[in-house]
Subunit: 330 residues, 2 copies
């Protein structure tokens, strides 16, 4: 089977590709060819028995989508997206990539025809939901996004379901929690602090916390996200019925509980590196975000996240720090 | 103020235009120019003091949307759409008209800029909801359409809300009930019988009923639909908050209750003209449709439908039959 990954150079994309290339199989099927696409050339990856092809191109450009599906991949992971902050800053770019890029991909699949009906795994987001929200959000929550990114993902979900219903492809959309702990350097995203208050102290560096300790949010690790994608690739589509998009499980914790988990794993010295600097602007943005979900459908369908935030911290230490925690003087 | 109506040659469009041209005002503002657009040339209408301009063009074609908003209409009624059955038969045409046509309109408004921020009234549909559905559907129902038409309308709602949130326009989307009694000849739509079992007997003609008497559905008259559009044009947008789309009120009745209302208005002879011819295919389609709504938000915002189905029948007799009912031998 051939496999296509769009957005392969992104954080989740790279982790997914490493897993696919390492396994050499997806479900029970050997991967013959792994096509990795992104705006920038994805890293060359050594495939365990799979041929690997990299493509640097914009999915929304003429002909690119047709080129990407030419090998008739049996599974397509569509991760390419303009992220939340950028989609809000650059209205046109967000629609171009997040809506038109997806439509180009869907149309390219449909155009191949001849019985071609791949599994398309679409990375959606809990940003499809917007305030006012219940404390715990069920699988039947009204989709009222409050960002352009959330709007674009909600449109993607609708398209995925309709193309699936019409028999053009076999889509599964998964709404990812906030991914925590994100590896790498701090970024300017409003959600950045959720990761940095764990990541920086574990590396012996200071981190800034702009919101109160009682702010609650919904998390899963990068490792869990890769697990969701693999599960979505291999699940029986008929089990989903007409509703092809699912809220993924996650861990609902307050910032205070995140910090307590950090203390369990790395001690008081690490916690001492968190500096509280309230920021009304950041608070205003994240206050409207979901706090917890009852992701019953996904759990019944075998999707698994961490069971608590301490596990999320330990996953970061294992996967990113080689099991080592920096020792510091607080 | 200038007013633009797209889909002006359609059934609701013609009734809306007749009302606007007759009133010469919208809310408290005199209408200077009424621009009527459709694929086919809309009928010339005598405006009470308003200039009237008709345009036969496809909104999804290059330049058409810019032409339509060139007069900077303060209110735009966007009714142009490929209907349910056609959007299901012709996948490309449905997306072209119902999604791309709307996007062209939104982008043309945005491109004018310079403080231009018109009220855009978007005719959506209860088809944005799909089975499984509760008996009475609330304002927070998950949008899971089961047709391409419903998908396209749900995408339209999302776009309308996002463009409004971004300040490019001031959108209000209204989800119309099934319009009953539709004037004119029987058509091939699966929903056609809801109207024909009333309309044909009132004109002394036979009608076919393909579903059981206990099938329940959600209706409002063409007159009520025009009232919804006018209300949506003049309502205070801030009262809607971020959720710019509303389910309109209506009347929830079984087919048996529709027939009882016909009997009240036109007697047993009229009812005798209904011939029961069960059709499994039609039943399968309409079974998944909404049966009733709790349209609380819209009612609080001053939207009004008929209070029972007998009123819907009487509205048809007044508006379409000049108050006269055909006398027949049963």
């Amino acid at each position: 089977m051939n496999v296509l990954v769009t957005g392969a150079a992104g954080m989740i994309g790279r982790k997914l590709v490493a897993r696919l290339a390492g396994d050499g199989v997806l479900g029970s099927e050997p991967i013959s060819l792994l096509v990795l696409a992104d705006l920038v050339e994805p890293e060359q990856t050594e495939g365990a028995g799979s041929e690997v092809e990299t493509v640097a191109a914009d999915l929304a450009d003429d002909g690119v989508a047709m080129q990407l599906v030419a090998s008739r991949p049996g599974v397509i992971f569509h991760l390419a997206a303009v992220v939340s902050g950028e989609a809000e800053r650059d209205f046109d770019k967000g629609y171009r990539v997040n809506v038109d890029g997806l439509r180009r991909l869907l149309e390219a699949i449909r155009a191949l025809g001849d019985g071609y009906r791949p599994r398309l795994v679409f990375a959606s987001s809990i940003a499809v939901f917007g305030a006012p929200l219940p404390d715990v959000i069920g699988d039947d929550q009204y989709q009222a996004p409050l960002t352009s990114y959330g709007t674009q993902k909600a449109i993607g979900e609708l398209l995925l379901s309709d193309y699936t219903r019409r028999g053009f492809l076999d889509g599964v959309g998964i709404r990812l929690p906030t991914i925590c702990v994100r590896p790498g350097r701090p970024n300017a995203a409003a959600s950045g602090f959720f990761s940095s208050i764990i990541r920086e102290p574990l590396s012996g560096e200071e981190a800034v916390l702009p919101v109160p300790d009682d702010l609650r949010h919904w998390h899963a690790s990068p490792r869990a996200a890769v697990g969701f994608l693999l599960r979505a690739a291999t699940i029986d589509g008929d089990a989903l019925g007409h509703r092809r998009c699912l809220t993924m499980p996650g861990v609902s914790v307050t910032v205070g509980e995140q910090i307590a988990a950090l203390r369990e794993v790395a001690g008081d010295d690490a916690v001492g590196l968190i500096r509280r600097e309230p920021d009304e602007e950041v608070l205003r943005i994240v206050e409207g975000w979901p706090r917890a979900f009852d992701a019953r459908r996904a759990i019944e369908l075998g999707f698994r996240a961490e069971s608590d935030f301490e596990e999320i911290v330990r996953v970061h230490v294992e996967d990113e720090l080689g099991g080592r925690i920096a020792r510091t003087q607080a």
